[in-house]
């Protein structure tokens, strides 16, 4: 009987992670180095390896799902397409002017604050044609000057055109006509229209969203084309699906048209992976913290669903496209610790990276890092780093901490190393608090999921700092994003501007707008070959108090007779939750959204690793922990050998090939049926 494999491939900067399963409980994980020059090479190489390792035949692949950094890298490395921007007459400089706001207030010498690299002045043109705030055509589109504008841009090398006309989100006729003409004049030239990319008022924000879309579209198109061709050549017939920034999947063919939705493709897969872990451990409200070498990513999951924001950051630029609320802070295992002249200890944001890396790597790193401190404190086994593939030098770690931190501060080496951890943990805890407070969430009610190579070392300290009582350490933190790909639903979201006071809401007009949105979303779902009966539809309205300019997204049921009252009450509750107060003053709707979603298991219950057998315990180690003046003896356990139901108390160190978990005194742990390590705090035991 032919097997049917589902494959999730998540490409990161360093590694490409693969998880595949056949639906009968058989699954397999794999990690291979990413190809920097062409990430599709490593994706295709994974097929070859799977053939070798588990005799997988490409013809047997039923789903092939991908998380990619190709859009993000194109922006961060300024390697997108050369684009032209066409605007309404008089507004060609909007992209460069921006909001006149500067990010760094005390720096007297200012750097440009807008993404001018997308299209400098020469690559921006304006054409006559005007639509009013109420959507009337005040002046017809000047098709003659549009032609010369586009021709000049193409002559100057434009590979894609972003068209941004004022009020196109109310009346798109000029933008649609522009695309029709551009496609006629320059067949094959990619065109991004502002009312499709970001149908909301404020021309600067809409302009850069549209320009970013145009900038990455040819890159994404080439990349996905190479990948699809490569998969087809190897005999894989399953359509390619790609993860979007908001945590749902879409077909590769659609992703090429909606490239701007791919910026957080990889992190979104990681958050969905976090949801799976939470579901398997019975914890629906979670904070994930993925601590790598140079930075840490924080995300929130509430009620089993990733929290989504209507705008995020790409580099330093705010981008108005819905994405999972993943926030990066500049602290990680490789963060460098320094003492300034007033005797203050700073950790990060400078990082030792992988070259030269922390002092303990023995590659010439002279400065003490968090990783070096972890060695001094006994948390990391120098002989079992990265599964023993890489030996660390404890003497170098100790020397660096002593020379750069302990001596200047007049502390013992251990106290200095503990200090490095305390400062880092405080920074990361404040980062987590910032993200949760912004969403109106009290972190104490949430469980913490540590991810990444360094997450496990800081989990109990962070939880203590935040008042969190439960930690769930997944069995396979290293390939969680790839697993998340397999569990995610297919999802499409369509938004429209819709401005009306709640008090005088025209329900018929609102329902008419929602059905227009539904028709667009349904067309996208149809293109995914999804049966309409399988689609779950939800509706959302963006609401704010009249006079406010930030809105909150409220779930609505358009058929309810008491819709207006319900929406208002739900809005007041959300406002109270997020901002701590709500006054009963008039509110208005500013936008409507429909989300069509299908499939997605939300769990991967069949993915269980059997215990490896072998020794559970290794030789105990003396470790230093915060709040104790003397070292404590920690048991050292081998994660792979732990069986469900196995329980223990801190102090303990759990070692596995891809991460090490520190369990401080006051915590106890148990391995649950899904293989997760569930840690609970017992503050009274301290």
């Amino acid at each position: 009987m032919p097997r049917s494999w589902e494959i999730g491939v998540d490409t990161g900067g360093t590694f490409t992670d693969v998880v595949c399963r056949d639906g009968t409980g058989v699954f397999h994980t794999m990690k291979l180095p990413s190809s920097r020059s062409d990430p599709s090479q490593s994706v295709l190489a994974s097929l070859h390896r799977l053939g070798e390792e588990i005799s997988l035949v490409p013809q047997d692949i039923s789903r092939f799902i991908h998380g990619t950094t190709v859009a993000t890298n194109a922006v961060l490395e300024h390697k997108g397409a050369k684009i032209g921007v066409v605007t309404t007459k008089g507004f060609r400089d909007i992209l460069e002017i921006g909001r006149q706001y500067r990010r760094d207030m005390y720096e007297p010498i200012i750097e440009p604050q807008t993404p001018v690299f997308l299209a400098p002045g020469q690559m921006r043109k304006d054409v006559a044609g005007r639509i009013s705030a109420s959507g009337e055509v005040v002046e017809p589109l000047d098709e003659v000057s549009l032609r010369s504008a586009v021709d000049e841009l193409v002559d100057d090398g434009a590979q894609a055109i972003a068209v941004v006309f004022l009020f196109a989100f109310i009346n798109p006729s000029h933008e649609l006509r522009a695309r029709e003409l551009i496609e006629k004049w320059h067949p094959g030239l990619a065109v991004s229209l502002s009312h499709e990319v970001d149908p909301t008022f404020r021309e600067y924000e809409r302009t850069i969203a549209t320009a970013f879309d145009a900038y990455v579209k040819p890159v994404v198109d080439r990349y996905l084309h190479r990948l699809e061709t490569g998969l087809a050549e190897r005999g894989a017939r399953a359509p390619l699906q790609v993860m979007q920034s908001r945590g749902g999947l879409m077909a590769g063919s659609i992703a090429r048209q909606r490239a701007v939705r791919l910026f957080l493709s990889g992190p979104a897969a990681g958050v969905v992976g976090g949801c799976i872990v939470g579901a398997s451990a019975g914890a629906p409200d979670l904070i994930t913290i993925d601590i790598g070498g140079t930075s840490a990513d924080i995300a929130l999951i509430s009620g089993g669903k990733p929290l989504v924001r209507s705008e995020g950051l790409i580099g330093p630029h705010a981008l108005r496209v819905a994405m999972v609320d993943v926030n990066t802070i500049g602290s990680g295992g490789g963060s460098i610790a320094r003492v300034d002249r007033s005797g203050s200890l700073k950790v990060g944001p400078q990082s030792a990276g992988s070259e030269p890396g922390p002092a303990c790597y023995g590659r010439g790193g002279e400065e003490a890092t968090v990783c070096d401190a972890s060695i001094v404190l006994g948390y990391l086994d120098p002989d079992y780093f990265a599964g023993g593939t890489f030996k660390l030098d404890p003497a170098k770690a100790r020397e660096a901490v002593e020379r750069t931190i302990a001596r200047p501060l007049g502390l013992s080496v251990e106290a200095a190393a503990l200090g490095i951890h305390r400062v880092l943990n405080t920074q990361m805890a404040e980062g987590i608090r910032h993200v949760s407070v912004r969403q109106g969430i009290d972190p104490r009610q949430f469980a913490l999921i540590p991810l990444g190579g360094a997450g496990g070392l800081h989990a109990t300290a962070l939880a203590r700092e935040l008042g969190i009582h439960r930690i769930v350490v997944p069995r396979l933190p290293g390939v969680l994003a790839a697993a998340g790909l397999l569990a995610a639903p297919v999802e499409h979201e369509v938004t429209a501007a819709f401005t009306q006071p709640l008090a005088s809401l025209d329900l018929a007009a609102m329902r008419a707008t929602l059905s227009e949105l539904d028709a667009k979303a349904a067309a996208l779902m149809k293109a995914e070959r999804i049966e309409p009966s399988a689609v779950i539809v939800s509706y959302h309205a963006d609401i704010c108090f009249i006079g406010q300019s930030y809105s909150l997204e409220i779930l609505i049921d358009p058929q309810r007779p008491d819709l207006v009252e319900r929406v208002y009450e739900d809005f007041l509750l959300a406002h109270e939750r997020i901002y701590g107060h709500a006054t009963r003053v008039p509110a208005k709707v500013v936008g409507l959204r429909t989300v069509h979603s299908a499939g997605g298991s939300g769990t991967l219950d069949d993915m269980r690793l059997p215990p490896s057998g072998g020794e559970v315990s290794q030789a105990p180690r003396w470790i230093w922990v915060s709040g104790r003046d003397t070292p404590v003896e920690a048991q050292v356990l081998n994660r792979a050998a732990l069986t469900p139901g196995f329980s223990f108390s801190g102090p303990a160190i759990i070692q596995q090939a891809d991460t090490t978990t520190l369990i401080e005194p006051g915590w106890s742990g148990v391995v649950d049926a899904a293989g997760n390590l569930v840690l609970d705090s017992h503050p009274e035991a301290l």
């Binding site: 002017i97 021309e203 700073k346 502390l411 400062v423 910032h434 401005t499 107060h581 003053v585």
Partner: protein, 555 residues
């Protein structure tokens, strides 16, 4: 082993931990304040700030708001503590004031101050200041350009109790509501301020619970001391001496032919930072007078700009500052001089202090920025009788750095306001924006070019509109440095449907009718270094991108 406990009973690492916590707490307060405020000026202009103070009234931590608020809450907290001594305060009390002549800034900036208690003892103070949309007075928005007395500028609130053990002072609330044009918005913003203070109180309470009542004040003292030491250390790297600079604002909106002189002598001596404003103009009739809190804010900004940005911002950074503010001058007016438009003056003061220090800090301080924040306001009636008010704050170019061109249309020095999107304005008011573009050739030429100003053109579509224009740099350009050219001066014109063309003399209040157009051109920043030294490739790029005309570059 011992964790190197110092004599005070804690280790130095704890100080760093607390420092990060305080930053986080101030940030959380700020987030609460900004996101839940009602006034558009708060959300687009970020014109609101949250701070933590010690019980002695020294700044403990401040969130990244706009620098003009940096020092401004210090005199407010000082005044509140004087009128309501700490010993008389109880938990769940809060105080309010806006009076400029008692420590405030201008009347729209209302401060809320709340003591933070732990175990029945005061441990810190939370404060939040918000620019309210309207606090009454002779003009909507409470910043009348033609005011000649503070009484015309709005409701003056002396230090008063707003909350008494958690209960709102309803008498005061009724009085405020009666005196402002949009009472719900004012109360919504006051509630946001209280909410921000409550966040600070809760988190500081948790901190004290964890670290102990006795330890916390000592930790705060050490944090302030560290910032002071690092600031003084940075100041000692500047050669001792007295450095002078003079710059001008256009006029006070009343006496249009009289420029306003800002003169400063900055004395750096062994880590002290003294600013003497002797030689500055007498106080003016119009509302551009700057009460002492404003000059203090400018000096606080300047000291942060010339020292290490990594130093935690707290009162320690400000301890080296002393000011001489001649009484009756533009920087220390006598009551009841009007003060509502003092931001333009504070911006110029900040620019002058930086200008004075440029010769000794050539790598740190760019050529003069235009330092212009043009305010335009439109208020009127639509054809169907509905009222509207809209307006915005518009920047010009920044000064060129020693190695980089200035930035076009960017906020500088003590303010950081966002512009209003053209679409937002057209949705709110019967106005059409015809142009919003970079102003070609407005950046001061030089080896590094100054940033460009903005050209924006508004057309009135309906009815009759009261129009206020409050500009700067119409009569006095931003100077270049080291041989760089000055930036272009600002120019604003009205084109009437009658065919008449009027040049706006920097400040103007007038009536516009349907079909009238206003074009504003903001000023450019100064250039840095001689233009002859400009890289020809950079000049060609500028021509290609439309930033300079071909003929200008070939000169």
């Amino acid at each position: 082993m011992s964790i190197a406990l110092s004599e005070s009973g804690f280790d130095s690492i704890t100080v760093d931990v607390v420092r990060h916590k305080l930053d986080g707490i101030a940030g959380e307060m700020q987030q609460t304040l900004l996101r839940s405020s009602f006034s558009p000026i708060v959300k687009e202009g970020l014109d609101a700030s949250a701070s933590l103070f010690t019980v002695d009234g020294e700044t403990l931590a401040q969130a990244c708001a706009i620098p003009v608020h940096l020092g401004t809450m210090i005199p407010v907290v000082e005044r509140i503590l004087k009128v309501f001594p700490l010993a008389t305060m109880s938990p769940e009390d809060a105080y309010v004031m806006n009076e400029p002549y008692l420590g405030g800034t201008h009347l729209p900036d209302i401060a809320v101050v709340k003591p933070i208690f732990a175990n029945g003892r005061p441990v810190a103070i939370a404060a939040a200041m918000t620019h309210h949309q309207d606090v009454g007075g002779m003009a909507p928005g409470s910043v009348p350009t033609n005011a000649i007395e503070i009484y015309q500028e709005g409701l003056r609130i002396p230090p008063l109790q707003l909350l008494s053990t958690g209960r709102m002072n309803e008498t005061l609330v009724a009085l405020i509501r009666q005196n402002v044009r949009i009472p719900d918005t004012v109360m919504g913003d006051l509630n946001a301020q209280i909410a921000a203070c409550n966040v600070g109180a809760r988190r500081i309470g948790e901190l004290v619970e964890r670290l102990g009542q006795n330890l916390v004040p000592k930790l705060f003292a050490i944090l302030l001391q560290r910032s002071e030491e690092r600031t003084r250390e940075a100041l000692r790297l500047i050669p001792d001496g007295t450095y002078r600079y003079v710059d001008y604002n256009d006029n006070d909106g009343i006496e249009l032919d009289k420029q306003i002189r800002i003169e400063v002598a900055v004395t750096i001596k062994d880590g002290d930072f003294h600013c003497d404003f002797t030689g500055s103009s007498e106080q003016v009739r119009g509302p551009f007078n700057c009460v002492p809190s404003g000059s203090l804010a400018a000096a606080c900004f300047a000291i942060r700009a010339v020292t290490d940005p990594d130093i935690p911002t707290n009162a320690g950074c400000f301890r080296p500052i002393s000011l001489h503010l001649p009484e009756g001058s533009i920087v220390n007016p006598v009551e009841p001089a009007p003060v509502n438009a003092r931001t333009a003056t504070i911006k110029r003061i900040a620019g002058t202090i930086l200008g004075a220090l440029r010769p000794v800090l050539p790598d740190r301080i760019p050529a003069d920025s235009c330092g212009e924040m043009l305010a335009v306001m439109f208020g009127g009636k639509r054809a169907d009788g509905r009222l509207f008010v809209t307006g915005e704050l518009i920047a010009g170019g920044s000064g060129a750095g020693p190695r980089s061109d200035g930035v076009d249309v960017i906020e500088t020095d003590v303010t950081n306001c966002m512009n209003l999107s053209a679409e937002a304005m057209e949705m709110e008011a019967p106005i059409r924006i015809h142009q919003m573009s970079l102003r070609k050739d407005s950046g001061g030429a030089g080896r590094q070019r100054g940033g460009l100003g903005l050209v924006k053109e508004y057309e009135i579509l309906e009815g009759e509109v009261r129009f206020t224009h409050r500009g700067e740099r119409h009569f006095c350009a931003a100077m270049g440095a080291y041989g760089g050219e000055p930036g272009a001066m600002a120019v604003s014109t009205i084109h009437r449907t009658t065919g008449a063309v009027e040049i706006i003399p920097s400040k103007l209040v007038t009536t516009l009718h349907a079909g009238d157009r206003v074009t504003i051109e903001t000023a450019g920043g100064g250039g840095n270094g001689p233009v002859a030294a400009r890289d020809p490739a950079a000049a060609r790029t500028d021509i290609r991108n439309g930033k300079i005309s071909a003929d200008v570059s070939t000169v």
